[in-house]
């Protein structure tokens, strides 16, 4: 399956989930599929969308949080799996778009390309629910169950690398504006106070 197809399936099944996207391809494709303001799109801190999603999930334990990670970002911070497993947030689902390359910079190969078993790494870190999916119809079939099961779970979406640059444009507003749109969206949806009475 292709990354866009896999992301489209996730977007259709997200339900009420709040999403956190790793920078680059994951964020750009999620924006293209959802145009959602109740999603956080990382601009930097490669590898740490996972930690950001964990902090959000622990803070809103009744809200499903979906992490749309990518293999390059996961490898930048594999230790996140230890922390996620130890915290055992039931509302956190970790998806990894795995194409074996650094797609955003033109498809250069990942370290240890095609020989790394991320599911085995996640299980070794303490995830009880970890699987890899590489066919689109299989993803369609499994995703309702993944969405309904208790987290933390870890799902690798094995997709084909694209040739060259993936040209999906990034979201159309930048850092501080995205902060306020995301925070205000969560305030409206969940009745929480992210910003104080003076707006900061």
């Amino acid at each position: 399956m292709r990354a866009r197809e896999a992301i489209d399936v996730l977007a259709r099944h997200r339900g009420d989930a709040v999403a956190v996207c790793a920078l680059g391809m994951a964020a750009n494709e999620w924006w293209a599929a959802t145009k959602s303001e109740d999603s956080f799109y990382m601009h930097g801190a490669m590898g740490f969308a996972a930690s950001f999603a964990l902090g959000l999930a622990l803070s809103l334990p009744q809200v499903p949080v979906w992490l749309i990670n990518a293999d390059g970002s996961l490898c930048m911070n594999l230790g996140c799996l230890l922390t996620e497993a130890s915290q055992a947030a039931r509302n956190l689902k970790h998806f990894v778009v795995d194409n074996g390359v650094y797609q955003t910079v033109g498809g250069l190969p990942m370290v240890n390309e095609a020989r790394t078993d991320y599911v085995a790494i996640a299980r070794g870190a303490g995830f009880a629910r970890a699987r890899s999916i590489q066919e689109l119809d299989d993803l369609e079939r499994q995703l309702p169950g993944i969405a309904a099961e208790d987290g933390p779970s870890f799902t690798v979406l094995r997709v084909e690398p694209e040739s060259g640059f993936l040209r999906t444009p990034p979201m159309t507003y930048e850092g501080p504006e995205m902060k306020y749109r995301f925070g205000r969206a969560l305030e409206r949806r969940f009745g929480i106070e992210v910003f104080g009475p003076q707006g900061y």
């Binding site: 801190a45 902090g55 803070s59 922390t83 850092g175 902060k179 929480i192 900061y200």
Partner: protein, 167 residues
């Protein structure tokens, strides 16, 4: 005055409900005290930048958070502090041991002592040094300044504060 008890009390006044930590020996007693408080969700991390990003995510859940680490750990997460917290103007409150001070006779801490504050100044990250027990009461003001300035704020704990003047 028990210093860790006093800092813990001020963090409680700030409304802190989540703490993410990776210890060095100066902040370890404070981390252990916070870990024993059931009203604060404590997250042990494998790398200090995880603590930064966890606290940043907690901010959007409306939860006040603190990251605890040593000075060496702070140096490891300057990239994430810049490209996550500066980029998006997300406040994150860090409590950090001020290693490499003139009374910290550890050769492996001397660079941290010389270069950490100039590095924070280069990034324009505000900081505040707590050197005496009676200055611990400044923590709520520091926490509010962090939120108001919408960026990383480092509260340094000195050796004299955490180890005592006789240590």
């Amino acid at each position: 005055m028990d210093v860790t008890e006093a800092i813990h009390g001020e963090l409680t006044k700030c409304g802190v409900k989540l703490a993410a930590s990776l210890p060095d020996d100066w902040v370890a007693p404070l981390i252990q005290r916070i870990a024993a408080d059931n009203s604060i969700r404590h997250v042990r991390v494998a790398r200090e930048a995880e603590a930064v990003a966890i606290c940043s995510g907690a901010f959007f859940g409306g939860v006040r958070a603190v990251a605890l680490m040593g000075a060496t750990g702070l140096l490891t997460c300057t990239g994430e502090l810049a490209t996550l917290n500066l980029r998006h103007q997300i406040p994150v409150f860090l409590i950090v041991s001020q290693r490499g001070s003139i009374d910290d006779h550890r050769i492996y801490q001397e660079v941290q002592g010389r270069r950490t504050i100039p590095l924070l100044q280069a990034y324009d990250f505000p900081y505040h040094v707590v050197d005496r027990p009676d200055e611990i009461a400044s923590i709520p003001d520091a926490f509010e300044t962090c939120r108001l300035q919408k960026r990383p704020f480092v509260l340094f704990l000195t050796r004299r504060l955490v180890k005592g003047s006789a240590a």
